[in-house]
Symmetry: D2
Subunit: 474 residues, 4 copies
Amino acid sequence: MFNEIGTILWSDKPVEECGVFGIFAPGLDVARLTYYGLHALQHRGQESAGIAVADGSQIELQKGMGLVPEVFSGHSLDKFSGFAAIGHVRYSTTGASSPLNAQPLVFRYAKGMLGLAHNGNLTNVADLRAQLASTGSVFQSTTDSEVLVNLIARYNANSVEEALMKCMIDVKGAYALLIITEDTLYAARDPYGLRPLCLGRLGEGYVVASESCALTTVGATFVRDVEPGEIIRIDRGGLTTTHGLTAQCPAHCIFEYIYFARPDSTMDGFNVNKVRREMGRQLAREYLVDADIVIPVPDSGTAAARGYAEESGIPFEEGLMKNRYIGRTFIQPTQEMRELGVRMKLNPIREVLQGKRVVMVDDSIVRGTTSQKLVAMLREAGAKEVHMVISSPPVLRACYYGIDTSNEQELIAAQKSPEEICQSIEADGLHYLSLEGLLDIFAPKEKNFCTACFNGIYPVEVPKQTQGGKFSLE
Amino acid sequence: MFNEIGTILWSDKPVEECGVFGIFAPGLDVARLTYYGLHALQHRGQESAGIAVADGSQIELQKGMGLVPEVFSGHSLDKFSGFAAIGHVRYSTTGASSPLNAQPLVFRYAKGMLGLAHNGNLTNVADLRAQLASTGSVFQSTTDSEVLVNLIARYNANSVEEALMKCMIDVKGAYALLIITEDTLYAARDPYGLRPLCLGRLGEGYVVASESCALTTVGATFVRDVEPGEIIRIDRGGLTTTHGLTAQCPAHCIFEYIYFARPDSTMDGFNVNKVRREMGRQLAREYLVDADIVIPVPDSGTAAARGYAEESGIPFEEGLMKNRYIGRTFIQPTQEMRELGVRMKLNPIREVLQGKRVVMVDDSIVRGTTSQKLVAMLREAGAKEVHMVISSPPVLRACYYGIDTSNEQELIAAQKSPEEICQSIEADGLHYLSLEGLLDIFAPKEKNFCTACFNGIYPVEVPKQTQGGKFSLE
Amino acid sequence: MFNEIGTILWSDKPVEECGVFGIFAPGLDVARLTYYGLHALQHRGQESAGIAVADGSQIELQKGMGLVPEVFSGHSLDKFSGFAAIGHVRYSTTGASSPLNAQPLVFRYAKGMLGLAHNGNLTNVADLRAQLASTGSVFQSTTDSEVLVNLIARYNANSVEEALMKCMIDVKGAYALLIITEDTLYAARDPYGLRPLCLGRLGEGYVVASESCALTTVGATFVRDVEPGEIIRIDRGGLTTTHGLTAQCPAHCIFEYIYFARPDSTMDGFNVNKVRREMGRQLAREYLVDADIVIPVPDSGTAAARGYAEESGIPFEEGLMKNRYIGRTFIQPTQEMRELGVRMKLNPIREVLQGKRVVMVDDSIVRGTTSQKLVAMLREAGAKEVHMVISSPPVLRACYYGIDTSNEQELIAAQKSPEEICQSIEADGLHYLSLEGLLDIFAPKEKNFCTACFNGIYPVEVPKQTQGGKFSLE
Amino acid sequence: MFNEIGTILWSDKPVEECGVFGIFAPGLDVARLTYYGLHALQHRGQESAGIAVADGSQIELQKGMGLVPEVFSGHSLDKFSGFAAIGHVRYSTTGASSPLNAQPLVFRYAKGMLGLAHNGNLTNVADLRAQLASTGSVFQSTTDSEVLVNLIARYNANSVEEALMKCMIDVKGAYALLIITEDTLYAARDPYGLRPLCLGRLGEGYVVASESCALTTVGATFVRDVEPGEIIRIDRGGLTTTHGLTAQCPAHCIFEYIYFARPDSTMDGFNVNKVRREMGRQLAREYLVDADIVIPVPDSGTAAARGYAEESGIPFEEGLMKNRYIGRTFIQPTQEMRELGVRMKLNPIREVLQGKRVVMVDDSIVRGTTSQKLVAMLREAGAKEVHMVISSPPVLRACYYGIDTSNEQELIAAQKSPEEICQSIEADGLHYLSLEGLLDIFAPKEKNFCTACFNGIYPVEVPKQTQGGKFSLE
């Protein structure tokens, strides 16, 4: 798990932004459980980590830059006592990479203390920030979350739920939100359910997390997904739920299934591993190649490669070995870092590839640089033919809902046709999963997903001045 | 200079809270000049240091825990470019010792960016904080300064000056305030002029600082003190001044002259060294002892000891040698640290003291622990008699205007009569400078000073729930 | 119709508070149509009347104390030009009887002009008013509506709909709300649908009104009821609808059917006349008396009396003649006015009553004073027996949702058993319709109604300090 | 007095806008005293009148359109009880002539009730209104006063004085302000003292009024003028004073002396009658004509004419008789009304004028229409020569501080030279008092006056979009 992080950061894949974990469980070591929960969500963000613990009278916070085990030691967790906690792992979407931007954010306001952890991206944050500033709000960071915190403080005349209901009216975009007060845990999800959030039971307590894999990790039982527009409140009196604002039709992020989520997670009714296997089968139906072996680009292409192999009857092999011991220092999410290191990370296995016509299954092509290197590597290792098979449609448009897909100018599929891409990566063939094929897997719920990165149909308004995937607020 | 800091922290003296330095000087290296200015003010605060530099379009900030040279390297100063800067050294008065509380504070608000450095203490900050919170403000720290920043943001419909004028109506307490925007430097002083602030000229530019010694250090010429209630604005168009709110009579902190300020500073018309020398003369007039030598407790007792010697005719000697090489790691301003180390710091010189009747001049007795140790030291070194002479009246009451004199319960003079104190420190005699004697030095301006710590006449309302010198906002 | 108003005010019946009418119809004389619409709703409020007309660039307002024809002349209507209008007739629920409290309220705010007409009663208006005042709102009247106006102004960052959605979160109580801006008409109904509001079509335009009888009057076609929690927006682009906050189960005011609404209105799926006729039938099933004639207390008892006659087979007669020419000057809604005048208003017809055993059907008994006088009148006119039959259950509790049922202390059924009431009004028998019997009429939608005045089950929180039906804000 | 009002409205003179009167006098009939005080100030405003009375727990208000005796009857004054009151007479400067705009304005806000009466004109009211609206304020009228009320409510965290101090920072323009709460009277004057306000003593109580003539009328003793920027608070504890914002140099309206104020008033140290007499003397020194008689245009030219006669030795005569019985109904301050009626109002006395060379003294020429008619009248009555002598310099510029001098386009002196004016009014000579001559009268305080209407030196910023004297906010 730990090393898998490298995979994400050292490639040109889209980058997930954040993961959140919350727990309300009097009697248990909530800080340590949050640590484990965040660790299970580490693939969703490696830049910073933080935990805020509530003990009934106040909130204690620890956060820092780095991976979860780098930020927290067993020692530092011991100092926490309390019965509720929220945690956050972050990969910067908006806001610079800075300690000020690490989450959870803890602040004092008229009703006491409040901590907030947020996964997602608000698309009208600049407007909201300007509105808040025009009536006196000041900002010390450039995150969406500080805007949310100020909105909540403005709106919380009666209860956090009512404040969140009003926030939902103002805030456009994607959010899975955890809030902690001195004695209560809240969870909320945007009206479209763009970002995932699920609820579990742990003894007498409750757990909420971005992915169900984090529930499993801490020994909790999956109960259900938090519904789009739902606001859950958990305190000593138990769990209550309120519906804020619900879109007419959900728009869950389909890329979670293609790439981001851990295979052992189940989201909004679909198990990730099963979906990926089915993508592979569908690819084989759409594009059956006369080949000798099917190999995945590990790790995210593995399930789809198995599906392709099963459907096509072509043998599945592991033709690329992942180096699980890449040393890492602190990672800056800049372009040049992404360009580096494919070769450091993946090694072709000549014994498998030599003289073979190869179908290589990957989940997506964003900039194309990695694919080109992979094809070249396979040929060097003796592959006779290399057919690239991609378990997603071409990524043509930027995401404004919490995924860092880079500027549209950098998206190779936005610039070139599949034929041109095939040429540029020097493959013998290239096939992207069709959007229809992808959506069929989710039938009859195929309308419940956001496919904006493939077809530009954005369910939520996007910022007026689009500046690519990571738009500047600074 | 550097080692002198030790003197303050390792004793039981009142502790000055902060020093501020600001500069507007296009063409000069304002960051480096601020560094030197803060270094000259290091005696006013050793817990944290920070510099914010404005370049016309934004404000860059660097701050950290520790002494000025610990926070800044030459290298780190090089990265700054700009034409205006403010700096701050802090000893915590309100707000816990925490990186969050270090200044300057830089924030974004409706009109752009704003940095703030503050020396002093607001006495109604809890009320102001509650009022601001009731209309939506959120707070990430527990400092006065974050309250000021929010007030300014609320009030700044037209100009920073108008905002400060309105702040002056709301804010009670002591403040010398520097504010920087992207292109302008502001300086303001509370209506009573409780904390010092002076203005200097450096080439075509301007410098403002807590003490004139910082002007001298950077080569600036002293122009005048900032007046009580005055708001100064400096930009490329030059300097303009506005009067906000002015008290009927100033109330400058008299303790600056007794102890805090550097001898080479001149404040509100009086040179510190000269005032101290005069205190010694007055002491000799009030309490002439038949003794052989007059010695100071270095360094702050030196000038008064010279004055006493001059007036009395008794020879001045240096009977206590200060260890200028005390190693120091980062200093926590807690009680136990203050109790330690008198012996590590000061050594009696047997050659001077042996067989002598000694008049020892110190500036103040706060808790009494140091005095007792000093008297014992002198006797061990052979002194026949030890007369303690104090160049201030007894400190009976807590300060709420930015000086950490500790709780009134800890003030020895609030608990015991001078005779009892004399007994408890085992001296042969003890004399405090009379309040009348002290004020005569400033005649005919003797009414322009705050003497609340001596007589409880507080010019500005004090917090309702007084909790000693360092009242809690947390 | 006009004279029927007298019935309401000169009796001890519960008093409806307000009626609203709105129209968006470019090309039509919207002011005059609103006049006719209000006239059709005059039974819902006789204290003041007002019309606000929007012409695309501004809103013109005329309002005054009195009946619709008293406030407006044909001449005064001619001065209006525009394409949208709202109108209001008011009987004071909260707020004193004063010209300041007449509606619509028209004001200027950050987004331009806005007019508001409101039927209903907010139960947390004191809290809302205090919250608004704490952040600077000032109030010139004591109406709910001024509170709503301020809330809308606070919340209208983006659109009136979003502002209303947020208002729905804050505001507790009953409201049918019409809003007009320079160019748009909005209609909203509280989440429980406590007060009625329906939508009609008039040519290319739209009409909204408290009761469908007003649609008919202006020649509009009934389209549907505005749904609980719905916000409708009508402008030149057509009609759009948004759902704000919807209660789990509606709670339509059942008293509208019993007494307030005009028989020719249809509300939330039920025709008023048909419901009343069915009440009479049910009364006959519950309490069949051996009598000679069934007579109504005109006019509101008529339909139920017919139902009773049909079900029982006892002949229906008109035994009380209403004086349709009672002179009226301006009417003060005070207690003493209600006590007066039964005899001026109703005359028994000896020819019908002489020697008869009479079943007299009325819709409700509030204070009991009228019933006593009626029974006595019938006996004087020769009736041998008088059985009082009431087409509603006993009114035991005050209404906080817009009906002036008076203080609970004044409600006779809250003080006395039916037997005691029968004695006090000196009838030979008394029967109230059972609550079950009443609700059966609405089956299977019997849970969709507010029956708080009968059983104290209040769907929406009531004011903490209940002070009877007309609680004071002054 | 009563008929004199006609003089003002039926001519083309500049129009004073408002008068204010306040009283704090437990034990006296404050409502009736305010009535008399307003009556004495009736020349300052005839459009509406109002009185608000405080009794310790609330404020009662009565106001209406018309003259003081038209709005109040003895009967209506009897209903008031209380110990403090403010009153207002209004001639509309900003805001349409409408009952909504009548003053005092009484409102409820977070701290209770507050009534406000305002003489003057705010020059940045549009900006202030927009700022207030942007944070949720709503407005029902178009007056300056509603803006002031909202500002005070926003700023009143601690006290009305502190709120007024902050208002003074925001508000630009001219104001003499009276405020009443349930138990306290406040008076404030703008930092330049543009509009007059004076303080008197009445028994144990206090009186404040626009002019000292109102003090005399109610039997109060003149104490002093309220100082520019001063805020006076009067309650049962007595009178306290605070200085808000004071301009470097006052700028009292010089036109008060020339025309508006009653001759028996003394303002800011100068008696009006004495000043006017001195103007006449100075005119004679500047422009000595060989004439037979000096006559005034009654009533405001009388004192200057006497001065001219005294200094020149030419006999003073009354050559124009004023009709003191002009019927009046409610007066609309429109242009056409001003043009009418000179002849109805003034009749030449042939016996005095026949064959004479006449010097006619008037206080000012605004549009010139009246002057032309007067000259013609004198000639018709037999005057041989008519020399027009004006006791003010030419009015060249609009006033933005509360005087309705009309648009600059309508000011004859802004369009024509004195020679051209002399021709157009067909006089034999015309002389305006020189500005130097005028100011000499006030020496050595000649710099303490606003002379903007003569020389365009506006002490306070004027509105950006000048639209003449009565700029539109609607």
